[in-house]
């Protein structure tokens, strides 16, 4: 997660400039010290009341066999607390179809874990929002993927957009911090700005943009991913828009997730649009943030207890929390895949191997490389950096080092 608003607009009057220790941060917010334990995404259920094209969990309406019971979920939370997991992201499917959601949020926060929610928003009544707030929920991220028409088509349900906005309003009305989750694809890139404008008026001030990863149903629509030029344009527009808002005194928070070539690009952007010193300061902070978090700073536990390297990589599981406590699975580097991912710099090939931004990107998504080329340590197909930006030399033709 790269906090664009902090990197580009967070420089205060104080000499130390950027601050990343925001107590309101959710998933792997940029910190000055490397985070030691992973943020855990928990797919509480596979059930969902919507059917979105890009859903990595492949959710549907039927109850799935093997979903963790309430007692098991509490046992899992105990294990996570014992392992010092800092944040638990209740996700799905749609977590609000679980009737024990409030109880489990309450249990997690009692155990000292920060609870955050990822939801389609359509089931959040004011009463539910209040109950979640009272249970200690810190933040709700509501998915909207375009203006009304596009969003509803994407989500497989008419009225989903209005219902999501109502859910957001219900959260905000009870004082629950709420933000947007927006997965950028070819279909909805054009709506991005209008959605921000519209939701800012509703009262949302945190906007989180996800690049498409190629897991679950997202894998089927890899073709709908933006091409290099369009990625670049969308990310640049987000940089510009963030600065425009801040210039008007509107302190919106914007974040990018899922493509760590963005880390490189924000440094390049700062060098062009701000100054070299600011760019270097951003670079320094991003080095500490550590690039793609797969298998290190983020983990996923699915509805039946399988542990995954990220929430998008559902096709491979390290093990199951019904067999071993989460911490034992996560610490077991006798698993050669886990061990290699944690020292991926030594294994990256192609353009990532020699990229000057490898320290802030770390080759970005291994899952996309795997899905697109069948190679675990090949280049991320979503990287839009030019050879010059990668430091491949002025005479390198585009793609020559790929």
């Amino acid at each position: 997660m790269i906090s664009i608003s902090k990197l580009l607009c967070g420089q205060g009057a104080e000499g130390d400039g950027l601050r990343y220790d925001d107590p309101d941060a959710d998933i792997d917010q940029i910190r000055e010290e490397k985070q030691k334990r992973p943020v855990v995404v928990w797919n509480t259920t596979r059930r969902c009341n919507l059917y979105c094209e890009h859903c990595y969990a492949g959710a549907d309406l039927d109850p799935a066999q093997g979903e963790l019971s309430t007692a098991e979920a509490k046992g899992l939370i105990d294990d996570l607390a014992a392992y010092d997991v800092p944040v638990l992201l209740f996700s799905g499917g749609e977590p609000l179809v679980r009737e024990d959601l409030v109880e489990l949020v309450d249990y997690a926060t009692d155990a000292g874990i920060r609870a955050v929610l990822s939801t389609n928003g359509t089931l959040i009544t004011e009463e539910k929002a209040r109950a979640l707030r009272d249970a200690g929920l810190s933040y709700a991220g509501v998915s909207v993927d375009g203006l009304e028409e596009r969003n509803d088509r994407f989500r497989g349900k008419d009225g989903a957009f209005d219902a999501a906005v109502r859910g957001i309003e219900n959260c905000l009305s009870v004082g629950l911090k709420t933000g947007l989750r927006y997965t950028i694809t070819e279909h909805n890139a054009a709506d991005m700005e209008d959605v921000v404008d519209l939701l800012y008026d509703v009262g949302v001030d945190r906007f989180c943009f996800y690049h498409l990863d190629y897991g679950g149903r997202g894998g089927d629509i890899a073709d709908a991913d933006l091409d290099d030029e369009a990625q670049r344009r969308a990310v640049r527009r987000l940089f510009d828009m963030t600065r425009e808002y801040h210039a008007e005194g509107e302190e919106i928070e914007t974040l990018l997730v899922g493509n760590y070539a963005d880390s490189a690009y924000v440094v390049e952007y700062a060098r062009d649009e701000l100054d070299a010193e600011h760019a270097e300061r951003i670079h320094r902070y991003l080095r500490v943030n550590g690039g793609d978090p797969t298998g290190e700073r983020v983990a996923d536990v699915d509805y039946r207890g399988d542990v995954h390297l990220t929430q998008f990589w559902q096709g491979y599981s390290l093990g199951n929390v019904r067999d071993r406590p989460f911490g034992d699975i996560w610490d077991d580097e006798s698993n050669p895949l886990l061990a290699k991912l944690r020292e991926r710099e030594e294994h990256l090939t192609g353009k990532c191997a020699s990229c000057q931004y490898q320290d802030v990107c770390r080759g970005s998504s291994r899952l996309r490389s795997l899905a697109a080329t069948g190679e675990l340590f090949g280049p991320d197909p979503q990287c839009y950096l030019t050879p010059e930006e990668r430091g491949a030399g002025a005479d390198a033709s585009p793609g020559a080092a790929d």
Partner: protein, 100 residues
């Protein structure tokens, strides 16, 4: 809801889960290295090879639903034991995680 309703389609790609075991040398025991999900055996094999098959590693795959598992981590017992206790806050304090 009729049969054509997209929500009725098989989940993900109708995948089956395969437990994967590997070893680098014949003197070593086979080691469980996780599981892959794939709609068919050949795809599961290909995935396992991509993730673990470099070098001369031996790989064994077996359908996860054919395993009989005894023992393990009894989450329900842990959850039930904690229920009704006031252990929550104490745990939070113990592990040093601050609650905002």
């Amino acid at each position: 809801m009729d049969d054509d309703d997209p929500r009725r389609r098989p989940r993900i790609d109708g995948s089956r889960q395969w437990e994967v075991f590997s070893r680098d040398a014949s003197a070593e025991p086979m080691r469980h290295v996780g599981s892959v999900s794939a709609p068919a055996e050949d795809l599961a094999t290909e995935q396992a090879r991509t993730l673990f098959g470099d070098g001369d590693a031996d790989l064994w795959l077996a359908p996860a639903d054919e395993f009989l598992r005894l023992g393990g981590n009894d989450l329900a017992a842990k959850g039930d034991a904690a229920d009704g206790e006031t252990a929550g806050a104490a745990r939070g304090a113990e592990n040093g995680v601050s609650v905002e």
